[in-house]
């Protein structure tokens, strides 16, 4: 029988604790135990980017991260981006720019873009391309996604100014 391990994390600002299978990935823990299905399981081997989340403000692939090593850390997912019913600028830009079709890659795309904009608020197109290069999409052709990230960056800079 798999050993159960208690873990406590801050999930999108909320203190949460669950028992997870020892050795379970953060992706499995988030989806099956913490009930946050926004990170998607695409390849389960760290190449598609659909499971991307932030751990203590850094972008990580939750399918390659053991849940146990996240003890005491702050996890952010796309499920926590909207505040008081108002979409995050990236979500708004994806919506307005029609940057999602089937939507499976979208949460990972948005987290990868957020990781970029958090430290590079006004990125060049090349920087956006680099930031999204670990995320596979098979519908959009990437162009609407790149444009949405650039548009969100512009919207942000206008708000600050």
């Amino acid at each position: 029988m798999t050993k159960k391990v208690p873990i406590q994390i801050t999930l999108n600002g909320e203190e949460r604790a669950e028992f997870v299978d020892s050795g379970a990935t953060l992706l499995r823990a988030l989806r099956d135990k913490f009930g946050d299905t926004s990170p998607k399981g695409g390849c389960h081997q760290g190449t598609c980017g659909a499971c991307s989340v932030m751990i203590d403000g850094e972008l990580h692939l939750s399918c390659l991260t053991l849940a146990e090593v996240c003890e005491g850390r702050a996890i952010e997912t796309t499920a926590g981006l909207a505040k008081d019913g108002v979409l995050h600028p990236l979500q708004q830009a994806f919506l307005e720019g029609f940057a999602a079709q089937c939507g499976f890659c979208t949460p990972g795309m948005i987290m990868a873009a957020k990781a970029l904009l958090d430290h590079t608020p006004s990125p060049t197109r090349d920087e956006v391309v680099e930031a999204l290069s670990g995320n596979i999409c098979r519908c959009t052709g990437y162009e609407p996604v790149i444009k949405a990230v650039l548009s969100a960056a512009r919207a942000n800079s206008q708000k600050v100014a």
Binding site: G42, Q101, C102, V129, L132, S133, T140, G141, Y142
Partner: protein, 335 residues
């Protein structure tokens, strides 16, 4: 040992759906007791936006806002039969079935409203904002909400309709052989510019300019989204996609999407998309099927551009660096 530039053009005519008969789709429409409309289908939204466009078609036919329409594609066991979402047929075939079903449902709705207003159903119209009114006398009106309530609880009428769309089978004329093998053509033309490294065989697609003639664009933003993605997929067909990327052993082939690669965010051509709207005669509100058509013309356009750049015809897909180099070698051997 030079980077050579070339330009190629290609045009396609693309029929909508399967043809020669046998390509039916059904739709059922009914109102809830409070005047929302449910459309039951067995067709699937793959992410291309079928549900949105089907809701628009139903809403347009009945005369309500698209928000009043719910598309239920939940279950192919219990839903009305549909051949499926493929062959660029969804908007055209299913859309036509919905128009038929919604027209029947609207007729019942107007008959109930006519009873309530004590007028003739033929004198009624919808205002698009949730009401039914007498033509030319909009002050005499009843809301669709109240009409649906009355239908359910007073008149015992079901505001519902059945829709079925089937292209009649075409047989060849004995004398001439003339027939109509396909229906509702969409059209496209693409000009591609490439750079080919004649030492490595590598191709870089610089620009792709597409014109698509797709009938009426029922949802212009979603059409654009399809066409931009489709153009990229066309480049992918031309230069990238194969299940046998690593020869000679089949076991070395790609096993999942991580290895079956398409152009990544860093490999994108500068893409332009122009939409021409020439409403089709038999499409729902003039629509055609833009789906697969939009990923086709890039393939011959890129092949022609490669020919223009380095003078070789590669007639196997994808056009890999290896195939280009082999063709160049063969060309040198004959000259």
């Amino acid at each position: 040992m030079t980077i050579r530039r070339g330009r190629g053009v290609a045009a396609v005519n693309y029929p909508t759906g399967m043809n020669l008969g046998g390509d039916p789709s059904q739709a059922l429409v009914h109102s809830t007791p409070t005047g929302s409309f449910m459309v039951t289908l067995s067709s699937v939204d793959l992410g291309q936006g079928l549900k949105q466009v089907m809701a628009q078609i139903c809403a347009e036919t009945i005369g309500v806002s698209a928000e009043q329409v719910t598309i239920d594609t939940a279950d192919t066991d219990t839903g009305p039969h549909c051949m499926g979402t493929f062959a660029s047929r969804g908007t055209h075939r299913i859309g036509n079935a919905i128009i038929q079903a919604a027209t029947e449902a609207k007729q019942v709705m107007l008959e109930v409203a006519a009873e309530e207003l004590e007028v003739d159903a033929g004198d009624l119209e919808t205002d698009g904002a949730g009401n039914i009114q007498v033509k030319g006398a909009p002050s005499k009106s009843i809301s669709i909400f109240d009409t649906a309530l009355a239908a359910h609880f007073k008149h015992g009428r079901s505001i519902s309709g059945r829709g079925m769309f089937l292209i009649p089978r075409s047989y060849p004329e004995t004398e001439t052989g003339a027939m109509k093998p396909s229906t509702c053509y969409a059209h496209a033309c693409t000009v591609a510019e490439v750079e080919v490294d004649d030492e490595t065989g590598e191709v870089t697609v610089l620009t792709v300019k597409n014109v698509f003639e797709i009938g009426r664009a029922l949802n212009p933003k979603m059409v654009e989204q399809q066409l931009v993605g489709g153009s990229w997929m066309g480049i992918s067909h031309a230069l990238y996609e194969t299940t046998e990327p690593y020869y000679p052993n089949r076991d070395h082939g790609g096993t999942d999407f991580n290895q079956y690669l398409m152009p990544g965010p860093g490999d994108l051509a500068d893409t332009e998309v122009v939409v021409l709207e020439r409403p089709s005669a038999d499409g729902p509100y003039g629509a055609k099927g833009p789906g697969e058509m939009c990923a086709n013309p890039q393939i011959p356009a890129v092949a022609n551009a490669i020919f223009d750049a380095v003078g070789v015809r590669v007639d196997h897909l994808p056009i890999t660096p290896e195939r280009i180099l082999r063709a160049l070698k063969a060309q040198q051997a004959t000259t």
